[in-house]
Symmetry: C2
Subunit: 243 residues, 2 copies
């Protein structure tokens, strides 16, 4: 499993992903699920992946390879004129990869699936984010739904619904996601540290902050232990039930 | 979908279940998912059900029918000597019901599945709780895992993990479950009010409190709106993140 969240703030974009990958509980390891392509001053694109690792690695390699020596290998995400066209291209590439695996193993179609969060900005357009389905189609963030989750999304969703606000600062939004990730990691063994964090400041056209937090990171520890107490105190403030 | 939770407190047992049932989002209605059999002074048994409604209704009807005129219709849950034997009988009956449906529609085996939480006490034994799988086998609560959830369990689990304590009072545990249900109801349309609540005081061998809370219940409203603010305040108390 996996847990990735993308937030669209007024200030820009925030991406957070875990790094655990597993095929059964006795076969797990670390892998990066966040990939960035940038042309400073012109475009910034980040992709987070959940699902079959062979599919997502192949997808990222294809996108990456086709972005090099673009004269010979178009279409490439570095040449698409808008984020919408980038999303179409990434979706089509995902469909292509899944289709190739399906062709050789028709009975296990669902095994090769993957979902993606794609965010970024290209000069002339706004910074935005897309949720891309295994079928290659996608939806874009809106003011009503200004965040996307992929992978093991349920445990960490209630806190985002309750606290997230597009006017938040980058620092506060990272703190919020840290709580959401901690709730998920405590509930599901297949989501694990370290956590990759990346921010993108709107109209900057370059990577913002980029951090990896480990199990022994002090801040993560303070959130993980502090949130339990904070929740208990919050619970105390609610009115008591009487039969 | 469904959401049911059973807690084992030092003081006794607490059961809470939603009442929404649906076959697609355009076909939903209300149904009770909590069923009780009691012989005052001798035994108390409560069952909560999640899964295929035809399966769970048939199961409850069979258990109920076989408990009447027990001379002619044994074995019955009203005659089993221990809660362990009751769990075996309920598990076997569940397996029987699912097996009958499977026999006529082999391609859709998984559709007829159901999971159960069974709790209660029989004179001579302790009050206890079981999680019964569609295969008819089951596990019992332990001090390490003193609660069970069935149905849409993920959204409401983190708050239970963080706050639940077996030393809680009935009132506090109902308040806790109210928060857990509210988080779930806000995140999944297929879980809905009203909520059924029941308590069982250990060694009382009779039904404790029995309440149904509706959408317009004042206490539910105060939790639902109050928890958002309480969470935001709890979030504020955590240390800020700095890149």
């Amino acid at each position: 499993m996996t847990y990735c969240v993308g937030l669209r703030l007024n200030a820009g974009l925030v991406f957070m992903s875990d790094t655990r990958t597993n095929a059964g509980v006795d076969n797990f390891s670390k892998t990066k699920k966040m990939f960035t392509w940038a042309v400073p001053g012109e475009r910034f694109i980040t992709l987070m992946t959940a699902g079959n690792l062979a599919t997502t690695q192949s997808l990222v390699s294809l996108l990456d390879e086709r972005s090099k020596a673009p004269k010979h290998r178009s279409p490439t995400i570095l040449k698409q004129p808008t984020m919408f066209e980038v999303a179409r291209l990434v979706g089509a590439t995902l469909k292509e990869v899944i289709g190739e695996s399906n062709a050789t193993a028709k009975d296990e179609t669902s095994k090769f699936r993957a979902s993606l969060i794609l965010g970024g900005q290209i000069k002339g357009g706004a910074s935005t984010m897309f949720f891309i389905y295994p079928e290659g189609n996608f939806v874009e963030v809106t003011d009503e739904t200004p965040f996307f989750q992929i992978g093991e999304a349920k445990y960490g969703k209630p806190i985002i619904i309750r606290v997230f606000d597009q006017k938040m600062s980058f620092n506060d939004s990272v703190k919020l996601l840290m709580v959401s990730f901690d709730s998920t990691i405590k509930s599901n063994l297949s989501v694990g540290l370290p956590i990759d964090i990346q921010t993108y400041e709107a109209d900057s056209f370059k990577i913002g902050h980029q951090v990896r937090l480990d199990e022994d990171d002090e801040y993560y520890q303070s959130i993980s232990s502090g949130w339990g107490n904070a929740l208990k105190q919050a619970f105390e403030t609610l009115p008591s039930f009487k039969f």
